[in-house]
């Protein structure tokens, strides 16, 4: 029987990403090729023009800031002019430029790359890890996104998947995935809070779970609060201590700062399980006037870390209170509280959450892995058609039209299962109104301009009549692929106008095809480059052996009994190797290796009785 095609679930995070699968009925995390569950969502082009993804990219982020791109999730599917992007640009060291359609491009390695392309590099890495795990190609995935992502952001994430060579079976909400991993689809009916404190963001969601249907009833948070803030407090503490002792500001030296960042993160993680952590950074700085390099040695206790970050823990509670308050959800109404994200392992955070909700948060599933595991469970259920676990594809946000007064009339509420259709009747708002402009909006805000404008069109030729006398049917249709069609029809005249809205990531189909082609070429070139590198190393090694053997042969009396042609042949092989070494042709390098290898055999095996062949 043919093996079932491997399926993966991906938590594509702002700071870290994880890939998981269901194996023998159990959801498991697939470790990356360095043996770790987490792959930093960082891509870079190193100084030697090599593309780096994951922990390697992260580890050179500070020493190579302009060419290291992180937190692209904050930018995905957004417009360059948006408040969120402009806000993000203030803190990003890499260059972001406007695209042709108010989309945005990130400058890396001398190229302007779209955000889905960058996300695709991370997905490609995860895909490769999964392929290494399964030992065969992987092409189908479920990817998670924050509950507040709109259609454009979801579509951009899907596009990233396509660029990475993945068929994205479904995009699901992160809190929903977390709840799925806890098995709440089967066991819980009621409200559940999911607090996701990751590396760079804090998301609070309230889910209403009812007979396996997951409804996100409230979502909020702070897109600039996460583990990095805790790291920075530790770095500040270390820098201050070192400056006091040696009069040197380590932040001015990128190498030192990179080491501080790595050490701070490590200490923070350690302090979730032990009460004190040692920070040893030998040779961290050479004094300006020269002399022996200085060491940084320090001990950080859990109490000290709590002191340094007390206000951050308070912010977590404050934001949670705010989100629940906006949704009119009382903590006592909640059936469960799920903690997600690496930072939620910190004892101080657990304590703060326990204090606020007056209950023990859910434990049992690793908080960093829970979202990816949920995604894997969903991928498995989709293919296996396990209906009790099958999430319905729903509209993530409400759809409606702008009406007089600048407000919104919702026609399809969020979390409506697709495909779906709904019609609403509108009337003219002015006397003798000839035209009506239909503005299609997505979002939850009451004010039209606070929502995302998906498209607009004008219905003309309306019958002349006092206001309110002309009625127009506005119909929204969403098909199974999530494509929204909106039509407006004058009931009297039958005049009709319509628009089709496809969620766009900012990339046109042509651009997407071109990028996919480039990715294929890149992967091909990378494979050839690896082969060339391996062959050159083999060639160099053989050349050294041949030189050694030649030297020995020359030192031995009578050439050590070598045949008359052994030495000239070896010299010819060396000369040939020298000529082809820089060739970009694996075949010619392989041939040169064969020649050297043959010569080596001849040099090492002289003929009988001192007479070589």
């Amino acid at each position: 029987m043919a093996e079932a095609e491997p399926l993966i679930g991906i938590d594509l995070g702002t700071t870290n990403s994880i890939v998981a699968t269901v194996q023998d009925g159990q959801p498991i995390v697939i470790k990356n090729r360095t043996g770790l569950a987490l792959t930093p969502s960082v891509v870079a082009v190193s100084k030697n023009a090599k593309r780096l993804v994951g922990s390697i990219a992260k580890r050179q982020a500070i020493t190579n800031p302009q060419e290291t791109v992180y937190a692209v999730k904050r930018l995905i599917g957004r417009k360059f002019s948006s408040h969120e992007v402009q806000n993000a640009l203030r803190s990003l060291p890499y260059e972001v430029v406007a695209g042709q359609h108010d989309d945005l491009r990130v400058r890396m390695g001398g190229r302007d790359l779209s955000v889905p392309e960058l996300s695709a590099m991370i997905l490609q890495e995860l895909k490769a890890d999964a392929e290494a795990h399964f030992g065969r190609p992987v092409s189908k995935a479920v990817i998670t996104v924050p509950a507040y992502f709109n259609d454009a952001q979801r579509q951009a994430t899907k596009d990233a998947g396509r660029i990475a060579g993945l068929e994205v079976l479904r995009i699901i909400n992160e809190p929903t995935a977390a709840a799925l991993a806890y098995g709440f689809g089967r066991t819980v009916n009621g409200r559940v809070a999911v607090l996701d404190l990751g590396g760079g963001t804090f998301d609070v969601s309230v889910l209403e779970i009812n007979q396996g249907v997951f409804d996100v009833v409230a979502t909020g948070g702070d897109t600039y609060l996460g583990g990095e803030d805790w790291d920075n407090r530790i770095i500040e503490w270390l820098v201050f201590g070192f400056a006091k002792e040696h009069g040197i500001d380590l932040r001015k030296d990128r190498m030192a700062l990179q080491r501080l960042k790595d050490a701070a993160e490590k200490a923070k993680v350690e302090l979730s399980s032990v009460r004190e952590a040692q920070l040893n950074l030998p040779f961290i700085s050479t004094p300006p006037g020269g002399g022996a390099a200085l060491h940084l040695q320090s001990t950080l206790t859990r109490d000290k870390l709590d002191d340094l970050t007390n206000d951050l823990a308070e912010r977590v509670v404050g934001i949670t209170t705010e989100v629940l308050g906006e949704a009119s959800v009382r903590p006592s109404e909640l059936k469960e509280v799920i903690l997600v994200g690496g930072m939620s392992r910190m004892p101080k955070i657990v304590e703060a959450v326990r204090g606020y909700f007056r209950r023990e948060p859910c434990k049992g599933v690793h908080p960093e892995e829970v979202v990816a595991l949920g995604a894997a469970i969903q991928a498995h259920a989709l293919v296996e058609q396990e209906s009790e676990l099958l999430l319905l594809d729903v509209t993530p946000q409400s759809l409606g039209v702008a009406i007089a007064g600048g407000s919104v009339k919702r026609i399809i509420p969020k979390n409506t299962t697709v495909p779906t259709s709904a019609t609403e009747v509108f009337a003219t708002s002015k006397d003798f109104q000839h035209t009506v402009k239909i503005m299609v909006l997505q979002g939850e805000h009451e004010l039209a301009h606070q929502n995302e404008l998906l498209g607009e069109f004008v219905l003309t030729g309306l019958r002349e009549a006092p206001r309110g006398k002309v009625e127009i049917d506005v119909t929204f249709d969403i098909n199974a692929e999530g494509i929204v069609s909106v039509s407006a029809k004058d009931r009297d005249t039958g005049l009709r106008q319509s628009i089709t809205v496809t969620a766009s990531s900012g990339l046109t189909e042509e651009e997407l095809q071109r990028i996919m082609e480039e990715q294929r070429e890149y992967l091909m070139a990378a494979r050839i480059s690896d082969e060339l590198k391996t062959k050159r190393m083999e060639l160099d090694s053989l050349a050294r052996d041949v030189v050694d053997a030649l030297t020995r042969a020359r030192l031995l009396p009578g050439g050590g009994g070598l045949g008359p042609d052994a030495v000239p042949r070896a010299e010819q092989a060396l000369e040939h190797a020298r000529r082809v070494r820089e060739n970009e042709d694996v075949g010619s390098l392989a041939r040169a290796c064969e020649l050297l290898s043959g010569s080596l055999t001849q040099l090492r095996k002289p003929g009988p009785g001192g007479m070589g062949r």
């Binding site: 700085s285 020269g290 160099d540 010299e571 020298r578």
Partner: protein, 293 residues
């Protein structure tokens, strides 16, 4: 011919010693002594080099002790003594960092006098690999007897009251670099060529020779490191590491070696040029601080 070559080898050895390559210097002093067994300077310098090496005080990561710096500043004239930051930090030399502070009155010392390579032909790494090691005396020194003076400073190049023209100095550096290449001292050649580049930025000859010597040096260093896909490991305990004499750049590279990253990864994440990183890694390997994996 032999005494003359011996003197020139001594001068080349002094150069290597100045740039911190005590082992290379020792090798040249030994060769000089083989050519001219009665040469007292060769004996003297060889003893100093052996003593310094056996004391373990001179490593590529540490400056040579004051007593082995060959020339007092007043004798050197325009050759100011090597600064501590220059001595130890090989990588810094290569990238032009960590050298003397900008604006410092440090001048490039005149290199040893070495002749043109016959025919001006160039060899590449494969030819070097293929070169026989049992050749006769190296044909790299061919200057008239009276062209050098004690302490290795070429007589014709030193002016008591002035500095020789930069062009002349550039030529000296270029020839010195070529000759160091002939002696397989690619590291020294690269150092000289960086100095030459400071004197004549954009000079195509300097650029070409620098690229070539860097390529050769890189090939040698990579060959020393072996398979770059291997994962190096730190051999010493943290308590022992702090007693090493490393600079912050070597410290940074060492800190990245965690038993998970390969040499190739280290090149990418060091934030330095490939050559600088390779030099540091090769030295860490030589010093026994790390194992090849």
């Amino acid at each position: 011919m032999s005494p003359q070559r011996a003197n020139q080898l001594i001068e080349a050895g002094l150069w290597l010693r100045l740039s911190g390559d005590m082992r290379g210097a020792q090798r040249l002093f030994e060769r000089a002594l083989q050519l001219d067994p009665g040469n007292t300077r060769a004996k003297e310098y060889l003893e100093a080099a052996v003593a310094a090496l056996s004391a373990g005080s001179v490593t590529p990561f540490s400056p040579p002790p004051a007593d082995v710096v060959p020339l007092p500043a007043q004798v050197l004239g325009r050759m100011a003594p090597a600064t501590p930051s220059l001595d130890g930090d090989w990588g810094a030399w290569a990238e032009g960092q960590g050298g003397p502070p900008e604006g410092a009155s440090w001048k490039t010392p005149a290199p040893v006098y070495l002749p043109e390579v016959p025919g001006g032909s160039r060899v590449d790494a494969m030819e070097l690999l293929a070169r026989e090691d049992d050749s006769d005396e190296p044909q790299v020194f061919a200057l008239p007897d009276n062209d050098t003076q004690e302490y290795g400073v070429p007589r014709g190049d030193t002016q008591e009251y002035g500095v020789p023209p930069a062009d002349g100095e550039l030529e000296l550096l270029l020839r010195g670099a070529e000759d160091l290449l002939e002696l397989d001292d690619h590291s020294g050649a690269v150092d000289l060529l960086f100095k030459a580049q400071e004197l004549a930025p954009g000079d195509p000859r300097v650029e070409a020779l620098r690229q070539r010597s860097e390529r050769m040096l890189m090939a040698m260093l990579e060959s020393k490191l072996g398979d770059l896909g291997r994962v190096p490991r730190v051999r010493l305990q943290p308590d022992d590491i702090i007693w090493l004499n490393l600079d912050h750049r070597a410290g940074f590279v060492l800190a990245q070696i965690d038993g998970a990253v390969s040499y190739e990864d280290l090149f990418a994440l060091s934030g330095m040029t490939r050559l600088d990183t390779a030099r540091i890694l090769a030295q860490l390997l030589d010093e026994g601080v790390i194992t090849a994996g």
